[in-house]
Symmetry: C2
Subunit: 246 residues, 2 copies
DNA sequence: CGGTCGGTTGATAATAGTCAACCTCTGTGG
DNA sequence: CCACAGAGGTTGACTATTATCAACCGACCG
């Protein structure tokens, strides 16, 4: 089961592979494994050993954590064209730190961690790219941590809505929620009920207008200003790493 | 102002430098910059441009974020022998994502990002080490995210106490808090008052015994079991990376 | 001796979670 | 064509958790 031309394109263009030499690319492609999952299928369980990382060819994948008492925290939603579980290969103990579930019919392309590591050893360029990637990721987690601790449910929702705006040309915008509201709520670490109330709250105050999954924002500026400047107007991007936990 | 022998030792033994060739090490050492800060001194402001990363020679450094409305979130406490801000050098826009403040008199050794990057380009070994480092860090943030959303203040405190146990030989332990309680509280994202009540709570239930900063845990197992197994007994270590935010 | 810092304790308020009812689509089968 | 079931979403009443404000305690310092 060789890869289609379309698949090869997608892979080779991905920053994780684009800097490799043709030969290295070929080896990785030869080793790639395509897998399909139905909606709701469990792709990988938390604490399973991880030998591969994945590129999502189509569909959406939900990454979440299950705590000892069964509660679930959605960590991320991975959409087509993006990879997940790349960072695990650099750790000694290679187990999946999260569960992965298909939100819709999903096609994944899996790559061997071992093989990838071998090629990385000879390709500092891609290593640096990966480091860049991970820095961004780390920074995003830092943002999320801040949002969780320093902002309330409504503020987080507002920030999420703004982040969903595609065209930042004007001060007003129309957006369509790409996921069921209950999932967005989970991603923001709030209950669907609270999510619903937060939407209602913003609507009552005239900051947004919503019909089902269509939401219009008359003024992005107003929406952000409402919350003490909500990150001084979408500025600040960077990340930090530090070698010691308290 | 050349480095002392002691400083050179500390640097060269650090995993970030230990894999470089002698010559590369020398170049980095030659470029290193030593700086002193008094207690409470502001080392770096959030959003300042960052040209260097730092190794803490002595003292403790508090990394924290300030949100637009002035609230502070303590991200990490860096102790002697550890580095911070290494991840920033991999990002295009190099600004500090957090503030850094000296908790006590601090000696820092700063290294040029540019120079370090140049050497990394020729040393995939260290790149991979760095990637490992960052994976661990990413995973820790994931843990923290889980703890913040899925556990309450008392559970987080219990987990913190257990994490502070040095000698895991027996089931009981004695620990000494290395930081003022109010700072630990900040790190756990709770108010000092709540922290105090949580301690009282655990004490009332006989799960810990505390006199000032000396805390004894009769049974670590009991303490953890109290909270639905609190991460199935200190297991699970790994991290994930994913290339798309919701 | 007074002051201040770190910490504790109490009363109260804000925020979000829980539980339950209900609503509104949408697709299915009678 | 209509009833009905079920999923996703909304709303209301109530509860739990944590923050806030304020008083207070004890230790250490000048």
């Amino acid at each position: 089961m060789a890869l289609t031309q379309e698949q090869r394109q997608m892979i080779v263009r991905h920053p994780l592979f684009s800097h490799f030499k043709a030969q290295a690319q070929e080896e990785l492609l030869a080793d790639a494994l395509v897998r399909d999952y139905d909606t709701q299928a469990l792709i990988q369980r938390q604490d399973d050993p991880a030998e591969r990382f994945y590129l999502v060819q189509s569909g959406k994948v939900k990454l979440y954590r299950i705590s000892a008492d069964g509660k679930e925290k959605v960590v991320e939603i991975i959409t087509a064209g993006n990879t997940f579980a790349e960072a695990i290969m650099f750790m000694q103990k290679s187990v999946f730190p999260v569960c992965a579930e298909a939100l819709e019919p999903v096609k994944l392309i899996g790559f061997s961690n071992r093989l990838m590591l071998r090629h990385l050893e000879q390709n500092p360029q891609t290593c640096l790219h990966l480091l860049g990637h991970m820095s961004v990721r780390l920074h995003q987690r830092l943002d999320e941590l801040e949002h969780l601790t320093l902002q309330n449910a409504t503020q987080r929702l507002a920030l999420y809505l703004v982040s969903q705006v595609r065209d930042r040309a004007g001060d007003s915008a129309e957006i369509e929620l790409i996921l069921p509201k209950s999932l967005i709520a989970a991603r923001l670490s709030i209950k669907p009920e609270t999510f619903s109330r937060a939407i209602a709250n913003l609507r009552e105050r005239g900051l947004i207008d919503s019909r089902a999954r269509q939401i219009s924002i008359p003024s992005i500026r107003n929406l952000l200003d409402e919350f003490a400047g909500g990150q001084q107007h979408t500025e600040h991007k960077a990340s930090i790493i530090a070698s010691d936990s308290l």
